[in-house]
Amino acid sequence: MHLSTRWGRWWEEDRWMGQLLILPMQLLIWFVLIIPMLIVIYLSLVSWQPIMGVDWWQAPFAGLRNYAQALQDQRFLSALGRTIGLVLAAVGLEFLLGLALALFFHYQEFPAKRIFSSIILYPMMLPWVVVGLCFYLLFLDKGPVNYVLIQLFGPGASVQWYQNPLLALMTIVLADIWQWTPFMFLVIYSGLGALPPEPVEAAMTLGASRWQIFRHIVLPMLKPVILIALIIRSLEAFKIFDLVYIMTGGGPGTSTESLSLYLYRTGFVYGQLSYAAAMALLVLILVALVARLMVRPLEMELESR
């Protein structure tokens, strides 16, 4: 009786129509997202390479061996650590620069402000590959950066940017900052524009200093916007591939190799798709956890409202 009432309500309230309308999308999601994901999970649990001469569904079961191997793989762990360091350095600096620029553009009036605010966004519109190539050329031994250094400080000032692991990594971070600071600027600048003016005006009336207004009013109100920008940018930066591939190829040796580049090499150059699948899933779990931790303050704030 109870069931028939529920069915009756479902039918009478035309809920079936809504569910019917979303069915194609649900099926699509199953086929493009869930089934491939299940295949990746399966692949990570077997030992398979296309060149082994057996089909992937016939591959010998490996259990968690691929995962265990990844956790002991020094190259994987180094690439993971290096990528995390790269994300922290690049996204951190992008945030600080983006925030400074946004504050400047928001609070200062100067001629052609709109034109400049548009120009700032251009790097973000360029493909990664173009940015990578430009920065690669900039830091070549006979490139413009060394030319300027030699002009300023003499022939001994030339730097072998790509031969020193730390300097090579720095050139990649610089390229990333150049391209993606505009994103931080755009998001924070929009956030500043959307803030209600009343709290700031009230604080000014009460005699608060600029720093106090920024620290205790503007920044807390901007927090959700900043968090979103940091999450989006960090997730994107974590997948960095093109800049590393083009500028250093991960070298010298593996000293600038990012996680994505190592996964690419493992899967597509070495053909170890099972192992690459296991590493990719480990990374996915890690990134999901970090993203969860980053989103949590936002959720808490929303809940408190």
């Binding site: 086929f31 089934i35 491939p36 295949i39 390479q49 296309p50 060149i51 082994m52 001469g53 057996v54 089909d55 992937w56 569904w57 016939q58 493909p127 990664w128 590959v129 990578g132 190539l133 070549l140 031994d141 072998q160 940017w161 790509y162 031969q163 692991p165 090579a168 591939f241 093109d242 591939y245 083009i246 250093t248 190829g249 991960g250 070298g251 010298p252 040796g253 593996t254 000293s255 690419y264 090499r265 597509f268 150059v269 070495y270 053909g271 170890q272 798709l273």
Partner: protein, 525 residues
């Protein structure tokens, strides 16, 4: 007339990477819908040399065309049938005009599918091995991918057709330069491919400096012998050091020490010293005295007499450094000579000499070992609608007459049949002075590692060698690390199978090197 501007591993865009990954994922998905058993990698065909009926025709091209006629008569193919050839965009000029001619002669519809990045070709090929869509009928790929393609069950064994149609690859007046005839086609002793290229490395130097009387006198005063092109690596190192003039903006040498081809210079010394990559049991031999000494010499050379971009750049650095006149000598593919002689790309036109790659003296005999790096070979998809028709095309394309016309056109395929070295067309394309040098180097050419997993073996080797060149590791440690990685690869892929493949592969090395191995007692057979 070849432009090797697309050789080596090019940069991969994120878009292309994502596309490849998407294709692989989609392919995996598709294959769940229509699973089919993987064919055995090695098809049972008669052993090489078994007499079989031959197709009529005086030349390989005629026999290929007669083969098409017979296939049509048997109803296996018909006019207008479409066949797709996957190849690199750098070969467009070699292949597309030939396709038009072939289609006109046969009434078939062979079409070209170009790929701009070499690494993407491997990805597409392996994707096809998994998905089996039959999208491609013929593959033109790196020579050392053949093993992977054969073991993945993607390509067919051509041995039977070689006997039936006789492409005149390894015998007769039209034969390929040996040993290129062997290592561009054989895997585990069977013909899985047909070579369409010659990527033997060549060394180019500044002839004007060598012919300068002042330089000659200074050299003679310093070393007590005449200034001549060096024959041994020891002489080479002195020669390079002599002409290394960083204060004048010219360094002694450019040899690859970067991420993808760092092995080339080391391997040339290592093999000429009598080294081999593996022993009978597939245990690596690169940590031997020959290997370590060769790497120590190379590290000294690169760190003391080369620009830093020998380590940090890519394959194209040779194509800028040498033609701009900032290095005394450089080695690369044959096309470097063309670039250096072209006024559009070079500042040293008319000042370029070419030389045989140096070697090592063994009891009075000079053993040279010249790396054959990359190289392109035709193979045929098992999922083609008519693999035999595809075979006929590749025999026709690589034939003595058709191939001559195709290879003489600007593109990334280079001269490989011996009689072509005397052809006026080729002399015009390559320069009459360079051809004898290239021929001599080709006769001493040894293959890249061409075992199953070759990509991984070479990449791991390069990784550690580059670290040695960059000063991050001692040569001995770098080779030990590479050897450890090789052991893991061999164990993962199956040692027994790799042992058999290596036993066959080392037969493809030049005879003087095999003789040296026998003398050293390196292998049991």
């Amino acid at each position: 007339m070849t432009a090797k501007n697309n050789k080596g591993y090019s940069n991969l865009t994120r878009r292309e990477f994502l596309k490849a990954a998407g294709l692989a994922a989609a392919g995996s998905l598709l294959s769940t819908c229509a699973p089919a058993p993987t064919p055995a990698p090695v098809a049972p065909t008669p052993a090489p040399g078994t007499p079989v009926p031959r197709v009529e025709g005086a030349t390989p091209e005629e026999r290929a065309l007669n083969g098409i006629k017979a296939l049509k008569a048997a109803g296996k193919i018909k006019d207008g049938d479409t066949f797709v050839i996957l190849h690199h965009s750098g070969q467009r000029n070699n292949i597309v005009p030939a396709l038009e001619e072939w289609n006109r002669l046969t009434g078939l519809n062979f079409v070209s599918a170009e790929e701009g990045l070499e690494a993407n070709i491997y990805t597409k090929v392996m994707n096809e091995a998994v998905t089996r869509t039959g999208s491609y009928d013929i593959f033109l790929t790196f020579v050392n991918w053949i093993a992977d393609m054969a073991e993945a069950g993607l390509i067919v064994d051509q041995t039977e057709w070689w006997e039936k149609y006789d492409p005149e690859v390894d015998h007769g007046p039209n034969a390929y330069v040996s040993p290129i005839d062997r290592f561009t086609s054989l895997y585990k002793g069977r013909r899985y491919a047909m070579g369409a290229d010659n990527d033997t490395f060549s060394m180019f130097y500044r002839k004007d400096l060598m012919e300068n009387p002042d330089e000659q006198k200074r050299f003679e005063d310093k070393f007590g012998r005449k200034l001549e092109v060096p024959k041994t690596w020891e002489e080479f190192d002195q020669w390079v050091a002599f002409f290394d003039r960083p204060d004048q903006g010219i360094r002694g040498v450019h040899m690859y020490a970067e991420r993808y081809f760092a092995y080339t210079g080391w391997a040339a010394r290592f093999i000429s010293r009598g080294g081999a990559y593996f022993d009978d049991n597939m245990d690596p031999l690169i940590t031997s005295e020959e290997g370590v000494t060769a790497l120590e010499e190379m590290v000294r050379l690169i760190q003391n007499h080369a620009w830093p971009d020998a380590v940090t750049g890519d394959w194209s650095v040779a194509y800028t450094r040498f033609p701009e006149g900032s290095v005394f000598c450089a080695w690369a593919w044959p096309s470097l000579g063309k670039w250096a002689q072209d006024p559009k790309t070079s500042k040293i036109v008319g000042k370029v000499g070419a030389m045989e790659i140096p070697g090592t003296m063994h009891d009075g005999e000079l053993i040279r070992a010249v790396p054959h790096v990359v190289g392109w070979s035709f193979s045929i998809s098992r999922y083609s609608k008519s693999p035999e028709a595809c075979y006929c095309f590749i025999q026709w394309f690589c034939g003595p007459k058709t191939g001559l016309d195709a290879i003489a056109r600007v593109g990334t395929l280079d001269i490989f049949r011996q009689p072509w070295f005397n052809e006026p067309k080729m002399k015009e394309a390559y320069g009459a002075e360079f051809l004898p040098v290239l021929l001599a180097n080709s006769k001493n050419a040894f293959p890249d590692i061409s075992l199953r997993g070759a990509n991984e073996y070479l990449d791991k080797l390069n990784l550690h060698l580059q670290q040695a060149f960059a000063g991050q590791k001692k040569p001995e440690q770098a080779l030990k690390d590479a050897a450890d990685e090789w052991q893991k690869i061999t164990d993962r892929l199956g040692r027994l199978s790799q042992i058999e493949a290596w036993r066959q592969e080392r037969k493809n090395y030049p005879e003087p090197i095999q003789r040296l191995w026998r003398k050293k007692g390196l292998f049991k057979d």
